[in-house]
Symmetry: C2
């Protein structure tokens, strides 16, 4: 998606440790009008008429998933990374390693809100190692819900998350895939 690639080129920064900072428009300060364009693009890439909900993982996936849920006219469900007093004890949970936080976190989802009748579009802002997404998809498998697809705003193509999900046979669409990021800038994978 050219609009997103252009924005990454203009405002993204590359930090040591392969960290790509896009916190001026995606995951700290957020340009919601850009997310709306991303949602429309996901609408072209997936058969959203089939889905019953958009699912993401808190916290940075929530803005884009919120806009997608509204765009497709379905509820948003965000999986929590810590058990809070706001959800019941009757939950699915799964421990994953968080790349962002550098420690294990527990994904938690109330059994009440997602069932085997659901057809799910997973949306996230970023994919690197894919650990959190794999944990979420394992949880959907356990529930028996249908995974219609996984839509990612920015995929780090030089990390194994995307290849791993595609090897699982999952319909992954990333709006911008960064294949290289170094002192010469960003190199994006060509896409149709």
């Amino acid at each position: 998606m050219k609009l997103l690639e252009d924005r990454i080129r203009a405002e993204g920064r590359i930090l040591p440790g392969d960290i790509i900072k896009v916190d001026g428009f995606l995951n700290h300060r957020v340009d919601v009008s850009l997310l709306r364009e991303c949602a429309k693009e996901f609408g072209r890439l997936f058969d959203t008429s089939r889905i019953t909900c958009v699912v993401t993982i808190e916290a940075s996936g929530i803005p884009i998933a919120t806009v997608c849920a509204e765009e497709f006219g379905v509820p948003l469900i965000y999986v929590k990374k810590a058990k809070s007093g706001n959800i019941s004890d009757d939950v699915y949970s799964r421990e994953i390693m968080s790349y962002t936080y550098g420690k294990p976190v527990t994904l938690t989802l109330s059994k009440q809100w997602l069932t085997k009748e659901d057809r799910v579009l997973v949306i996230d802002d970023f994919m690197a190692t894919g650990q959190a997404l794999n944990g979420l998809i394992d949880m959907l498998d356990e529930i028996g819900a249908e995974l219609v697809g996984v839509g990612i705003a920015i995929e780090k193509g030089f990390q194994p998350g995307g290849a791993g999900l595609r090897a699982r046979g999952i319909n992954v669409k990333s709006l911008a895939i960064i294949d290289r990021a170094d002192e010469n800038g960003f190199v994006f994978r060509p896409q149709e």
Copy 2:
């Protein structure tokens, strides 16, 4: 706001410890079309032509703040509750007690994205003791940003958060104020 009060009456649940569960439409599974109506109501309650950004605290405030930011045509900034690799070291931070998690958390905001030139509308899904919001507002004071107002979807009127903020002279508007919640159901504070 009648639409929100009706939804709380229909789907809200009251748990021991004064916990009000609205996780079927507000803070786990989210009805984004309801949030759009909330955003329009905030647009009537605040002079949103003056604001430069919408600010919230991760994670449960993000969906409603995302919709508000889009509605008012300004960026969303969400303050983080843990330092992640995605933001720089040059941050404002403030420790608060989280009512939701029952432990102290550190609010973190990159200095780059909010300055004394900003005029801020704070949006959150819930207010109980107001600890997180007071911490955020202290942070805005430190920055020197102007606080235009605080918009809350659901205020627990029997807890001290709202009264405390109003005593600070802050323009607080809550779309639904629950003054009592017990076995007889919800009692809402009358509003114009």
